[in-house]
Symmetry: C2
Subunit: 410 residues, 2 copies
């Protein structure tokens, strides 16, 4: 089916500068889609470090298993990503397909198979014909260039309606370093690891161990705070790469204070990508931020925020521009976390609709309804018990989600 671009898409795409030591190219291998690119090859300068976070699904895809077994090695020379087929629940043939893809890439690039990382996204359960990559691999290596970020973001899209890109500049020890990131994801989006796929590269010189700590820390406050439908993918993969070409003194200690600004910029970039995923939620017409404070702990606040953000009744009410805070109460109540109905305060944006367990005495339906017409909606809940807080991003639930997902495979 043809899907228009999400109304929540950014008005323009950021221009991503080249990252020294990263080259990319895309091709149309005909995995599933006709008339579009569906495979990305990125190559990395020798010695580039790699870190990653993966889905916690008990039924992960073959590429997830491939990466998990190799990320501890800490170095990467090539990344191959395809869209159209997730190579998940494909048994022995799936493992053979990852092996063949890595062999093809290793041969074309001239590196060890264990320095090739893989990701696949698309339909689950259908065999992936990796031999299709053979016909495009040499061309991909030949076409590799430093300015391919937008093309890369487009090649990994499935039901995404716009490519997702972000960039930051910061410094390490006085040296300017750049971080570029792309992501794809639109449905089957939930913590843990809501991204489906995201790839972030920097020219900074950072060891794989330090990079892993920065990635693991940043993901808890970014990709693990976005949900579209509560459905966790078999394929969620975030990989980060550091080429070491920026000229900073190489850093191996994750606690090195010289990394402070870099870690902050890295997290900020992941937050932007995570929000872009929610903005491209299947069928989304509104971008929703859920803020919970006053919970017994941050973890408790996070679970309450997710209960609200994943509630079909809350999400459909927002789609209907209905200030239905009763459903927020329901979602708080079902979260199973400590809460006292008579201490709850709920706001939609600046409009306090409920206070200490009942409708706000100054509640004005017209004011609340007017707020709900906004494209960006804030649902803020004060549990009133403690100091725990959390923030989660999601989108509304519309007929569009149903139409897309009742029609996707067949």
């Amino acid at each position: 089916m043809s899907i228009a671009v999400s109304p929540l898409a950014p008005k323009s795409l950021p221009a991503l500068p080249p990252i020294a030591g990263v080259r990319m190219a895309t091709a149309a291998a005909g995995i599933r889609y006709a008339g579009r690119t569906d495979v990305l090859l990125a190559t990395f300068t020798p010695g580039a470090s790699v870190a990653g976070v993966f889905t916690r699904s008990r039924c992960p895809s073959a590429p997830v298993e491939w990466c998990r077994e190799r990320v501890g090695g800490g170095t990467i020379r090539a990344l191959v990503v395809n869209s159209g087929n997730a190579n998940a629940f494909t048994g022995a043939s799936g493992r053979a397909a990852t092996r063949l893809t890595a062999e093809l890439a290793a041969k074309a690039v001239g590196c060890s198979e264990d320095e090739v990382f893989l990701a696949s996204t698309g339909v689950i359960g259908e065999p992936l014909d990796a031999s299709k990559f053979a016909g495009v691999m040499d061309g991909l290596v030949a076409a590799n260039a430093g300015d391919g970020w937008e093309a890369a973001a487009r090649a990994i899209m499935t039901t995404d309606t716009f490519p997702k890109l972000a960039t930051r500049q910061t410094s390490i020890g006085g040296r300017t370093v750049t971080i570029n990131g792309i992501a794809k994801g639109s449905g089957m989006i939930a913590p843990d690891m809501a991204t489906m796929l995201s790839f972030v590269a920097t020219d900074a010189a950072i060891s794989a161990g330090a990079l892993q700590q920065i990635v693991s820390s940043a993901v808890t406050r970014t990709f693990n705070c976005v949900t579209v439908d509560g459905d966790t993918s078999t394929s969620d993969t975030l990989l980060a790469f550091a080429t070491g070409q920026a000229g900073n003194t190489p850093i191996a200690d994750p606690a090195d204070p010289a990394l402070g600004a870099f870690a902050a910029a890295f997290e900020d970039l992941l937050a932007e990508l995570a929000q872009l995923v929610a903005r491209d939620g299947e069928g989304a017409r509104k971008f929703v931020t859920v803020e919970v404070e006053g919970a017994e702990s941050d973890a408790s606040a996070h679970r309450i925020a997710l209960s609200i953000a994943n509630s079909p009744l809350v999400k459909t009410a927002i789609a209907g521009e209905d200030a239905n805070w009763g459903r927020v109460v329901m979602a708080v109540g079902k979260a199973g976390e400590p809460a006292d109905r008579d201490l709850l305060t709920i706001r939609f944006g600046h409009v306090r609709v409920a206070h200490r367990g009942a409708r706000d005495p100054d509640y004005d339906e017209a004011v609340a309804s007017a707020y709900m017409k906004n494209e960006n909606i804030l649902v803020a809940v004060d549990i009133g018990l403690g100091r725990g807080s959390a923030r989660v991003w999601t989108c509304d639930l519309t007929e569009g989600y149903i139409a897309i997902n009742a029609d996707y495979r067949s």
Copy 2:
């Protein structure tokens, strides 16, 4: 909005015989709806016993708190149920409304307020004007009769498209006893206590304690196995009543073997009502049974079954008549329970689509697609690890759910 009757509704309603010791009447109190009944009064012969199970929401409604405080007393004389307003998250005014309703009923019936039980269903967060009951209460008592079961089931409906009734006959110690039950519920349906509201009466002579054990046991395999949207209500209430008019030797010991057939019939009736709730799921076009076996324990199987039954992607695929078993793999994987991808077997009805971690070698898309056109869909998963099993009922997720819930309150 006007909603057609669910295509999954039974072709005809069962005729419920009177239960000696129970009388009912309904009225239009104008709580929210125009032109329909919205209040039910049931009265019980002195000495009738009562048992109940309630929502586990941390933000329960005022009537739930009222009943919870009184069900331990074990006796009931009157039940007042209204639709249109849930009297939930209504603070002090909500508690005053329950008190006033109980006072009005106690006075009209001539009993203690503590023998009056209450339930409310409808919008959350709006004050309930219980004084509206004053104008109808005496008329309700005067009109009380034994044959009002269908009218009662209709008066408690909200977004339900058909009334839900079931009846069983069984025997205790050679005496025939009857069990009648009604339920309402269509959205905001999830374990624990998926019913929203259900009321079950029998003429058997059973102590409140024995009745409570039968109810608590039966609910785990019936109402706690149905989900529409995973949203647990603030108001879920199941009350059971035993009037003792059947003439059996009164039973106080829940382990009394004379209760065996009764307990089985009771659970069977609850299962029928629970399935009717799923069949009236908001926007439902298909009734779905999820069966999980081979899990490490029954509890683990139950959580996996709920993960499948609550997955928006599984439910939209079924709506689209798409044999998308990849999404079933996803839902197994995200459940967080022990599972080994390479041991999974998945069937849609009689069609085995996946076996031991990959697409079934004999998979035939045409056969699978033909099965998905059925109105009743079975999703069966064998985890392949142990002997734990569970069964859950749900429905598909269609545009109808969105339309109903984006429009319900405003």
